[in-house]
């Protein structure tokens, strides 16, 4: 690998880590995700600094083309992540639904006691 490419990858990995730190510091990323992304950022950084590691890993798996090893790892990770998000979204939707149903039932009770306009919020 050329020195320029090596430098570029190191800079990119550093930028990713800096961005993650920024998100966590401003509390826009939940702690449970920050750990996950920090590990990913760290992994990227290690691979960027020691490209030989990727070649060693490829040899180990019998993969002739090292970037393919990287792609494989990246894709597997993304797949698991997207699956996790789908699960989380389903759970969130369930909770939103439950809240909406509870709201409708409580509003019905309030309106029954205080008159039809009471639950409206408009006065």
């Amino acid at each position: 690998m050329s020195t320029e490419a090596h430098l570029l990858i190191i800079v990119l990995a550093a930028a990713v880590i800096a961005f993650i730190i920024h998100l966590v510091r401003s509390r826009r990323l939940r702690a449970k995700y920050s750990v996950l992304w920090f590990s990913i950022g760290l992994g990227l950084a290690v691979l960027a600094v020691f490209p030989g590691l990727l070649e060693w890993l490829s040899d180990l798996f019998g993969i002739a083309y090292p970037p393919a090893t990287f792609m494989l790892l990246a894709l597997s990770f993304l797949l698991v992540l997207v699956l996790h998000f789908s699960w989380e979204l389903s759970r969130l939707e369930d909770r939103t639904r439950a809240l909406a149903e509870e709201y409708a039932l409580l509003r019905e009770e309030v309106e029954e006691r205080l008159g039809p306009r009471a639950g409206d919020g408009s006065g």
């Binding site: 909406a100 149903e101 019905e108 309106e111 029954e112």
Partner: protein
């Protein structure tokens, strides 16, 4: 507990047909309590229902018919209703036909489905060729799944017993085209499901909620349900055993 049956009407933007439906219910079946679940309606559905003097639950946004029904079931459970009926807001169900469904509950069924196609059911109800074929496939699928034959798996004219209401208040399927899935779920959980003939009329307003394109998605979903239901057989066995135990005590 109250002996009055509850009529649950899920309604999404049904201001055109709802007032007439409520009026007919009030006139013909004054012994029924009525709950309209306005499913995130943006028209005057909730307002008109309020004016008619029935119970109104207003969902803050559209959940789809499954969510609206589940809200209705939860209402029935909390207010102590022993029986409830699912009723359409578009006027295609006949208030006088409700009693036939409730009779089924009296006979010990947990869910009674008003069928358009069983002997004695509606002859006036017309379905297009594609939908008729789709319904045939569904009928076959359900038969394979629950080993019981139903002629009208997607009918939205149903009555529920108290245990069924309690079960559905927790776990009624909330995604698109809930009725077939609910039927399979109830059977698999060991509830007794019956079918009785029921007359249905043409719609008095609004547009049907099913599009042919969505039926494809509906089929795929059902296949998933089929796979899932094979894993919940043990649940069915458990419930049946429990029911037999209860029956034994009664005798």
């Amino acid at each position: 507990m109250t002996s009055r049956p509850l009529v649950i009407i899920p309604a999404y933007n049904e201001e055109e047909s709802l007032p007439a439906v409520l009026k007919e219910l009030a006139e013909r079946t004054p012994d029924y309590d009525v709950l309209v679940v306005s499913d995130g309606s943006t028209d005057r559905t909730a307002e008109l229902a309020q004016a008619a003097g029935v119970h109104v639950a207003t969902l803050p946004f559209n959940l789809g018919i499954g969510g609206a029904l589940r809200t209705g079931f939860a209402f029935a459970v909390r207010r102590g209703y022993e029986r409830a009926v699912q009723f359409d807001a578009d006027g295609q169900h006949d208030p006088l036909a409700v009693q036939a469904l409730l009779d089924g509950i009296e006979r010990g069924a947990d869910m009674v489905i008003g069928s358009r196609f069983v002997e004695g059911g509606a002859v006036t109800y017309e379905v297009s060729g594609i939908r008729r074929r789709a319904m045939k496939v569904l009928q076959w699928l359900v038969k394979v799944l629950v080993r019981q034959r139903f002629t009208d798996t997607s009918s939205g004219f149903r009555a529920f017993s108290r245990p069924m209401l309690e079960y559905f208040a927790q776990s009624y399927p909330v995604e698109y085209m809930d009725s077939v899935e609910a039927l399979v779920q109830a059977c698999n959980a060991g509830f007794r499901v019956e079918e009785v003939p029921a007359n249905m009329r043409g719609r008095t307003g609004g547009a049907p909620s099913t599009r042919n394109l969505k039926l494809v998605y509906y089929y795929v979903r059902l296949l998933v349900v089929l796979l899932v239901s094979t894993t919940s057989r043990s649940q069915r066995a458990r419930r049946t055993a429990q029911r037999d135990g209860e029956d034994g005590e009664d005798q």
